[in-house]
Amino acid sequence: MAQVLNAALRDALQEDPSVHIMGEDVGALGGVFRITDGLAAEFGSDRCADTPLAEAAILGTAVGMAMNGLRPVVEMQFDSFAYPAFEQLVSHVARMRNRTKGRIQLPITIRIPYGGGIGAVEHHSDSSEAYYMHTPGLHVVCPATHADAYGLLRASISSNDPVIFLEPKRLYWSKAQWSPESIPEVDPIGTAAVRRHGTSATLITYGPSLPVCMEAAAEAIKEGWQLEVLDLRSLVPFDDETVSAAVRRTGRAVVVHESAGFAGPGAEIAARITERCFHHLEAPILRVTGLDIPYPPPMLENHHLPSVDRILDAVARLQWEPGTSDGETC
């Protein structure tokens, strides 16, 4: 996926002179994940600029640049290194349009290498999307496929609102057939995609957990389950229509994501589906998520991350026999 993101940035720089990339090590090094590889050489160090090491100021400077007509694309080196910029994000980036009644708009894309599963040491594997989802004024998107990596990144940069663009680190090295021709026609921000059709139950996921869900769905066939797999792509705005329709079709659903479960994205997803589809549900919507612990060290992260087994276990608990309410814990 890394090369695809790089291509999207290159094309954006090419097409729109107001696009400016900035962040730590995005210049000569091309970023620690090489997503900006070659861009400073090609477009100059003003268009792809190494900044001093201060995330609040990186984002704060981007705000000022956006106020003055530029379209900054900011790289935060890792999820948890975006936290120093939290005040700028919540108190300014998310609200500037609203507080000025639309007079100032901030077309800022905040790229965040996101999530775990790459054997990194502490503070390098957080999943922070729930913080951003809960902050009105931010769009939050997360690609799981190469086409979406390109399409969502281009759409984010074109958006006149700030977008949190979460790049699943463990998909950076995924190699799949991809060419720019496969860009989706529609604006992908705000639309979910069905990645696999099925009738037994719906797996709802995004980003790094999509491949895990696809694998679970393949395995599930052995158990006689035809699982539908839904890729949200965009957490804000949320595609209620597609999600509700899918769950209505199957009547059972499991939400899967890496970030901690408690007050995590899955809570909102489960709650809103239940509000909208209660009488279509054969079982409560279950969640398979990261544990409610600080992200584990590399040697233990496999116990934290949603696995095929945990997903299949959850599917098994979806009360397949009529009247199996005994599984409840209350």
Binding site: G64, M67, G69, H92, Q105
Partner: protein, 378 residues
């Protein structure tokens, strides 16, 4: 260092960096720069001095009026700049039309001197919306409440101007308390590294709410911070409007012509409580306030200009009358502000309303309808 240190044992010295320049050259003056009451005052353009006089008189009147509105409950809150009018006025007047001002919550006066309608400047204090004026009309950024957060914005805006080939300068205001926030330092550092055309003006009014300067910083002067970022610091008497104007104008023009950023500290004093709802008797001695009243920026200027023969009684009366008119107009128009439309709550969260926001908007609209019907049936 390569060549300067005599090595007695013949070992090679490290290629650390070229012999370093004298950092002391970046330190501010030892005593605050002053013009009024010194021989330098005789060289200042008379028209400029008259403009500044009218501004500070009107500024004082504005502070009194806005404080009164707050005490009457017609503003949710008002942080006054009484005693700081010299800084506010000088900041606005040091800028050219293409420049930008980045004010804090306290700096409505600077925004107004720059041309913002006072009724619009006070919108946030009135509570009908978060912000009232078009930032692009007079190039005044929104008043910033989270301390020091506006400083990197100023740097970014100035940086963008440079990238676009514009000769815009950004002047960013911050308080003594605000200099303790990380954002302040990060912004100054970015400005210095990027050589962005920014001027930082610290209004050191000696208090951050109740916390006095001595608990805020152990620096001998806040302007001493500049050298640590490789930019010049300036120290100025913040109650001497002509001095502040001169120092800022120099810094702005220096920035405009590629000289990079400057950090200016204006030493002044907050005469009023932090806001109308603050009780300053809890943390300071009224006699301290009284001592500072003797250095009132309006009086200091008035006396000096009289001494210079620039002002006479009729000028002073004229300025006072015009200030009264200004206040009366503000009062009147302030009273006739329409109530805000609740639908505005949903209009500007995003460029395009999300389906979820539309649902919530529909709910509120229905509530308003129901309420209106209920009201009309009474």
């Amino acid at each position: 260092m390569n060549t300067t240190v005599e090595k007695v044992d013949g070992t090679v010295s490290a290629p650390v960096r070229p012999p370093r320049l004298d950092p002391a050259s970046l330190l501010p003056e030892r005593e605050p720069f002053q013009v009024l009451g010194t021989a330098k005052a005789a060289d200042i353009d008379i028209e400029l001095m008259r403009t500044l006089y009218w501004d500070v008189v009107r500024g004082r009147r504005y502070n009194l009026q806005a404080t009164a509105l707050a005490k009457q409950g017609r503003l949710a809150v008002y942080p006054s700049t009484t005693g700081q009018e010299a800084c506010e006025v000088a900041a606005a007047r040091a800028l050219s039309p293409q420049d930008w001002l980045f004010p804090t919550y306290r700096d409505t006066l600077a925004a107004i001197v720059r041309g913002v309608d006072p009724v619009e400047a006070l919108a946030v204090m009135r509570g009908d919306w978060h912000h009232g004026y078009d930032p692009y009309a007079h190039r005044v950024a929104p008043l910033a409440t989270p301390l020091a957060t506006q400083l990197p914005h100023a740097v970014g805006l100035a940086r963008a101007a440079r990238l676009k080939g514009e000769d815009t300068v950004a002047l960013a205001l911050v308080g003594d308390g605000g200099t303790s926030e990380g954002d302040f330092y990060e912004a100054v550092n970015f400005a210095a590294v990027l050589q962005a055309p920014v001027v930082f003006l610290v209004q050191n009014n000696r208090f951050a709410i109740s916390v006095p300067l001595a608990k805020q910083s152990a620096a001998l002067a806040l302007a001493d911070k500049a050298v640590g970022f490789g930019l010049p610091g300036r120290l100025v008497d913040g109650n001497d409007v002509v001095a502040v104007h001169q120092v800022l104008t120099e810094a702005v023009e220096r920035a405009r012509h590629g000289g990079g950023p400057t950090l200016v500290e204006a030493m002044t004093y907050r005469i009023d409580p932090h806001t109308n709802s603050d009780d300053d008797s809890r943390y300071r001695d009224p006699s301290e306030v009284d001592r500072w009243r003797e250095h009132d920026p309006v009086l200091v200027l008035e006396r000096s200009l009289r001494g210079l023969g620039v002002l006479d009684d009729s000028d002073i009366e004229g300025a006072a009358r015009s200030a009264d008119d200004f206040a009366a107009d503000l009062r009147k128009r302030h009273e006739h502000q329409p109530n805000p439309d609740p639908m505005t709550l949903f209009s500007h969260v995003f460029a395009k309303k999300t389906p979820q926001l539309s649902e919530q908007e529909a709910m509120v609209r229905a509530e308003l309808h129901a309420q209106a019907e209920g009201d009309s049936q009474l």
